[in-house]
């Protein structure tokens, strides 16, 4: 029994890790897509696209691992959540379809390039909004009866889920802007600095609003954050948010190159930790815990072997691919 408890927790961390790596890796390239409308020049867009073209595919694979891993390790949670999030999930998939093919298609046509640019930007926006809304819908809880989702197909749509949707759009855009600071130079980089300021303050406002709204969703969240002794464990999160924000403001002010991107990621990590504090040990809030949803031990052990052996290897060659395409991307001359 103790082994089972530990395994479910281990797997909860693995799934959380996969989803977070996805957010880290795909967040900035989705954000970059959403910033496309603000960069109308073809040369700028070429540079933006080329800064992620060699790596986006690997980035998105973490989403498949998150979904596939959830089905494998917590099949009940997957079976309940996916129908509950039906519309946002379909919207996300359609957004990802448009966005993914745009990486290839926009280079194969002159006449329709503008249309694929719109597909890239629109697809990125749709996918991000859908992910944010899905997050909000999970946090507010879904209606479960027995082993099934028992709500309607519009239950996910609430002011709170729209708030988390918009918050994620802002957050990914900030990641995209700071990525551009890292990977570009000249006027493009200057513009990215300017955008980062606005997006940073918008993101802080969004974090604040979501943090204020979450404890009102149900009493468990409120107790998790404000009842003693939880408050002592939870308090470092907002304090760290303040500290990271101060560093981020300073690095933007000093026009540093790589630090803004990594500090923006740190803000994401802290917000993500906050979500974990709110939800644990539920995987479907208020309905299903990680132990109730866990797959049988031998399934979890079988996969654990693969994860332990392969994830370091994957991170290794992914890192190598990023290293191969390191440095600034310049217009008209590909990679340097």
């Amino acid at each position: 029994m103790i082994a089972a408890v530990d395994l479910a927790t281990v797997w909860a961390f693995i799934i959380a890790f996969a989803v977070f790596v996805y957010v880290v890796m795909d967040g900035f390239d989705l954000g970059l897509g959403m910033l496309f409308p603000l960069f109308p020049a073809k040369a700028d867009r070429d540079v933006m696209m080329n800064s992620v073209a060699p790596v986006w595919d690997g980035n998105e694979t973490w989403l498949v691992l998150g979904g596939g891993g959830l089905m494998a390790a917590f099949p009940l949670a997957y079976a309940v959540l996916m129908p509950a999030l039906y519309t946002p999930m379909i919207a996300m998939l359609i957004g990802l379809v448009f966005r993914g093919v745009a990486f290839e298609f926009r280079w194969r046509t002159t006449a329709a390039r503008n249309r694929w640019d719109i597909a890239f930007a629109g697809g990125s926006l749709l996918a991000t909004l859908a992910q944010g809304v899905a997050l909000g819908a999970i946090l507010q809880g879904v209606h479960v009866e027995g082993r099934h989702y028992a709500g309607g197909w519009w239950d996910w749509l609430t002011p709170f889920s729209l708030l988390t949707g918009v918050a994620l759009v802002i957050g990914y855009s900030l990641l995209g802007a700071t990525w551009l600071i890292l990977k570009t130079e000249g006027a493009l980089r200057e513009k990215a600095y300017r955008l980062s300021w606005g997006l940073l303050f918008a993101m802080l406002a969004a974090i604040a609003l979501v943090s204020i709204a979450t404890p009102f969703l149900n009493i468990q969240y409120a107790q998790r954050w404000f009842a003693w002794p939880n408050v002592a464990l939870a308090a470092p999160v907002p304090i760290a948010v303040a500290a990271v924000t101060a560093l981020l403001i300073r690095s933007l002010g000093q026009k540093q190159d790589s630090r803004p991107f990594f500090l923006a990621l740190a803000l994401f990590a802290l917000s993500y930790a906050g979500l974990g504090i709110s939800m644990y040990p539920f995987i479907v809030p208020q309905s299903i815990t990680i132990w109730q949803a866990a797959a049988p031990q031998n399934s979890q052990i079988f996969m654990l072997v693969g994860v332990a052996g392969l994830v370091p290897l994957i991170l290794g060659y992914t890192g190598w691919a990023y290293w191969v395409f390191r440095g600034k991307v310049r217009a008209g001359s590909g990679y340097h």
């Binding site: 073209a53 290839e104 280079w107 309607g152 797959a295 001359s333």
Partner: protein
């Protein structure tokens, strides 16, 4: 309007639609990735520029096909949850890990090295670049391994137990992964992927040879493709036969549907070549038959008795007409491909491989045959499994998500619209690339933005002592 429809029918239509679009891309990219690895190896080995030109030519086409395969594959990976949630809950402990291993061992490998393969030749040098190409090719094969293991388990489940929650759980991983139909299915599918690719490559080569039989690039690709078709087609026919015997052993009702055998035959069943299956009446109308041949093929004996669907409870009958016809389409195309291979061997022996217009026209018209055969084969095996998702154990009707028809219907409509826009555009871009012949100094992807590292001579400029292509 949508609320009058059955959500199960809609969910099946959605899965069939998205899967039909998806399956052609892996079928193509498995073969093409291996072909690219062979081309690059030949370039490294011989130093002939024609191989590098062909590599870059097909790399651009691969990039588009792979991109479309990725995006349609992401859709598939979430369909199990959105539309088949009961299936996901019940089979998650068995199927989930197989698919998770596909992600860990194949998808990451392909995606991780794809960027280097597409854009990295000048950055990492030819040898390391070849490693990247090889990793992508190996990744596509590993992917086939896991997904066919998962699919085969649904066809011929083994190594499982059922727990109190009604979930399938694993008793023996080895038996789950290497379930009875898996080896046959894997071989059949990988050979199909290689054949599909060789037909496309051969058709493109033939198209350019019809316009100018002296082009070096098209000559090389046409010759390679025809070798492939001539060698693989007969092996595929044998593999298909073995796969059929395996299916007869483990999924007899599927074979009955493929053969159109509503009735049992005590002393030798005929092979029904054509006819119109009538599911209501349980017979095949206007049948053209060859006596005893079905028994000969399936039991290797003229007078062997063969059971028909009359031995199976009616509620377990697969839809015969679809299975019957899709199977005939696949087999007919298989023999046409075999004929193409023989024809090419004959012209090769006579020394007219590059000048035979009939051969080139034949090869050109056979370009899409592999895709059609793969689709027909997939329809045969999946429809023949009905009415079950896990054969004999979990009914399709009991596997579906608790969703109302409007939700499933509108998402189906959205996928239809989006897929037709996106994949039609992709097909146009691929055909446009194919319409140009591979030329001297062919560039890789991003032709309009040369990825030249400052001061480094591109590899394509160094190794150009071969014949101009």
């Amino acid at each position: 309007m949508l609320s009058n429809l059955d959500p199960i029918v809609l969910a099946r239509a959605q899965f069939a639609f998205t899967m039909s679009f998806h399956i052609v891309f892996p079928a193509f990219s498995i073969g093409l990735a291996s072909y690219l690895a062979v081309l690059e190896a030949l370039w490294l080995w011989t130093g002939r520029e024609v191989f590098l030109n062909l590599f870059h030519y097909w790399l651009k086409i691969f990039a588009i096909a792979f991109g479309m395969g990725v995006v349609s594959g992401i859709v598939m990976s979430y369909q199990f949850g959105t539309n088949w949630s009961v299936f996901a809950d019940k089979t998650g402990p068995v199927i989930g890990p197989l698919m998770a291993y596909e992600v860990l061992t194949a998808f990451f490998l392909e995606a991780g090295f794809l960027g280097v393969m597409l854009f990295g030749l000048e950055r990492v040098g030819p040898r390391l670049h070849f490693v990247a190409t090889l990793m992508v090719a190996i990744g596509t094969l590993i992917s086939a391994f896991w997904i066919l293991s998962a699919n085969s388990w649904m066809q011929t489940p083994a190594g499982y137990a059922i727990n109190p929650d009604g979930q399938f759980v694993v008793a023996d991983w080895f038996k789950v992964i290497f379930n009875p139909s898996f080896p046959y299915r894997l071989v059949h599918m990988v050979l199909a992927a290689y054949l599909t690719t060789s037909l496309v490559v051969g058709a493109v080569g033939a198209y350019h040879l019809l316009r100018d039989p002296h082009l070096a690039g098209p000559r090389v690709m046409f010759s390679m493709a025809m070798w492939m078709a001539a060698l693989i087609a007969p092996i595929q026919i044998l593999a298909g036969d073995q796969h059929g015997l395996n299916t007869l052993e483990h999924q007899p009702a599927k074979v009955m549907a493929m053969e159109g055998h509503y009735q049992s035959h005590k002393d030798g069943a005929p092979l029904i070549l054509f006819g119109l299956p009538d599911q209501e009446a349980g017979r095949v109308d206007y049948a053209i038959e060859i006596p005893k041949l079905s028994s000969l093929i399936l039991k290797h004996s003229l007078d062997a008795p063969l059971a028909g669907l009359d031995t199976v409870p009616r509620e377990n009958w697969p839809p015969v007409a679809i299975t019957f016809w899709s199977f005939r389409i696949m087999v007919a195309l298989g023999f046409l491909i075999f004929a193409l291979g023989l024809f090419s061997l004959w012209t090769r022996w006579r020394g007219t491989l590059f000048d035979s217009r009939p051969l080139h026209i034949f090869a050109l018209t056979m370009g899409p045959a592999g895709f059609i055969a793969v689709l027909a084969g997939w329809i045969t095996t999946e429809t023949g499994r009905q009415p079950f998702t896990v054969y004999g154990l979990l009914r399709t009707a009991d596997a579906v998500s608790p969703l109302a028809a409007p939700a499933v219907g509108s998402s189906l409509l959205a996928f239809v619209v989006v897929y037709f826009i996106v994949f039609a555009a992709g097909a146009i871009y691929i055909l446009r690339l194919m319409a140009a012949s591979p030329h001297h100094g062919e560039e890789g992807p991003r032709g309009d933005m040369p990825a030249r590292a400052a001061g480094i001579t591109p590899a394509s400029g160094v190794a150009g002592q071969g014949a101009p292509s």
